[in-house]
């Protein structure tokens, strides 16, 4: 029976013919084969946290929600097989039972692993890659309904396309990730004026394993958040007032619980351009937007990687995210701010609001054609391509 599907923030809504919830790889393959036979379009949905219509379909929406859990691991290599519907929070809880941890998480942990990887979701840390950087292998059902298996060692080209692939290559049924031994972390938060924070920015980034900064446009204050293994990194920030000091496993101390709905635009720009871009963002918001924008701007750093559609492909990056209450005007805000990011060579987060189409995106990604080639190999008939994907991929 048809019902309206809605994403987390409420800005993406559509009515698929049906929503299926396979509980095994075999069931996934059956639904994909049915879709092929019935000439229906399947799309894949994780936690529904993305705010662009990547998952939209008028036909069959296939949820990852019953594909949860850790299904295998190798304690010598710290490699773990995990199902794609496992949330980041659940992954952390499962990994710690194996004395393992992810290398990083995002700011929130409600996303599914499959969705987070597929959209290039990331945390913060100068030397830490996005979450898909952990991916060393996968199993997926491709556009012909066939179940395939790939590893980084044997299929590096396919894997570099698969890491950030927007659900355009097939339905992931299992992900192999490179975890790391679990360690105790300390997360500390400080309040400081933005001028002092920017003056010390370089040290904050280089002297801490994880650092991010919230800037509050209505008072010019910042929240500085640092997270390090116990005994490492900055123990204090002299110019800031400490507001938090939590110790625990990474998955316990890093993500924040947030039920307040928001819309978000985020761009990744070259690391060295971060301060200048942020200065422009700050100036523009104070001049034009803060009468209706009260929420914060998030500044993070991410290490370069080699995934073809990763916003961090080939360059260490700063990400700057604009957040706005989902019930307030956000389109006008994002439309006006986006050219600033574009001027600095910004690449948009695939799961957040942006206006770019294929021609503009292609110019930002050196391995664009390599990704499209792998996509065509795995889904030659475009079974998984909805209208939005066709638009942004230029197909």
């Amino acid at each position: 029976m048809a019902k309206i599907w809605e994403n987390w923030s409420g800005s993406v809504k559509f009515e698929p013919e049906r929503i299926e919830k396979p509980a095994s790889e075999e069931e996934v393959a059956q639904f994909i084969q049915q879709a092929i036979a019935q000439q229906k379009q399947p799309r894949i949905v994780g936690a529904g946290h993305s705010s662009v219509p990547l998952v939209e379909t008028q036909h069959i929406l296939i949820s990852q929600e019953k594909l949860k859990g850790i299904v295998g691991h190798d304690s010598d290599t710290c490699r773990v097989d995990i199902l794609p519907g496992t949330s980041i929070a659940e992954a952390g809880e499962g990994l710690i039972k194996l004395d393992l941890s992810m290398h990083n998480t995002g700011d929130v942990d409600m996303q599914s692993v499959g969705g987070a990887f597929g959209t290039g979701t990331h945390g913060s840390g100068l030397k830490l890659q996005n979450l898909s950087g952990m991916m060393v292998g996968c199993r997926l059902v491709d556009g012909s309904g066939e179940t395939r298996s790939f590893t980084m060692e044997e299929h590096p080209d396919t894997m570099r396309a698969a890491k950030v692939s927007l659900g355009a290559l097939g339905f992931f049924t299992q992900l192999s990730i490179q975890a790391e031994p679990a360690r105790q972390y300390v997360r500390r938060e400080f309040c400081a004026h933005v001028d002092e924070s920017m003056e010390h920015l370089q040290h904050l980034i280089t002297d801490n394993r994880m650092f991010d900064m919230y800037w509050y446009p209505r008072n010019d204050m910042t929240k500085l958040r640092i997270c390090n293994q116990v005994g490492e990194g900055m123990q204090d920030i002299s110019f800031g007032e400490r507001t938090k000091n939590d110790e625990g496993w990474l998955y316990e101390v890093l993500p924040q619980f947030r039920d307040l709905k928001y819309e978000e635009m985020e761009y990744a720009i070259p690391l060295e351009a971060g301060p200048e871009c942020f200065a422009e963002v700050r100036k523009r918001i104070k001049a034009k937007h803060r009468h209706y924008v009260g929420w914060r701007v998030l500044y993070r750093t991410i290490a370069a990687d080699d995934a073809y559609l990763s916003p961090f492909y080939g360059r260490d990056s700063v990400t700057i995210a604009l957040l706005q209450n989902s019930e307030l005007e956000y389109q006008k805000y994002f439309d006006d701010m986006e050219p600033i990011f574009r001027d600095f060579g910004g690449r948009p987060h695939w799961g957040k609001k942006h206006s770019l189409q294929a021609k503009q995106l292609q110019a930002l990604y050196p391995k664009w054609d390599a990704f499209l080639k792998v996509r065509k190999q795995l889904d030659p008939d475009g079974l998984f391509l909805n209208g939005y994907l066709k638009k942004i991929l230029g197909i």
Binding site: R290, G294, L328
Partner: protein, 129 residues
């Protein structure tokens, strides 16, 4: 004196408007409406605030906690949950507390360099139906 509780549980004000423009260093000299809540009671106060506007539906509740026998001052500008309060837009507010409190609203307008401060009375609304 120590066990006395001052104030009322329900308060309201009608003259809110946060100036859009500011001059001077921030956060000290940003234009703002400041709510100050005094809780003389021995228990924590939970204050639920709803804002009313001229041409749109009320927005709330904004939940504010005030520790026992403490004051809490905050800028209405900075509230974001459930929504940021728009600047330059007239608004009123209703505050409902679970213990008696005393409420004061203050405005700082720095749109010109000659700083102006203005205190605003808040109506004690207990007993109103």
């Amino acid at each position: 004196m120590k066990n006395r509780q001052y104030g009322k549980k329900n308060w309201a004000f009608a003259g809110g408007i946060i100036p859009v423009n500011s001059t001077g260093e921030e956060p000290e000299y940003v234009s703002k409406d400041v709510l100050s809540i005094l809780n003389t009671s021995p228990t924590e106060a939970t204050v639920n605030i709803t804002f009313y506007y001229t041409d749109s539906d009320p927005v709330g509740v904004y939940e504010i906690k005030v520790q026992p026998q403490r004051i809490r001052m905050f800028n209405i500008n900075d509230l974001i949950d459930p929504q940021a309060v728009p600047l330059g837009v007239p608004y009123g507010g209703v505050l409902e507390s679970d213990v008696p409190v005393v409420v004061q609203l203050t405005r700082q307008h720095t749109g010109q360099e000659a700083l102006a401060l203005m205190g605003i009375s808040v109506y004690q609304a207990d007993g109103a139906n």
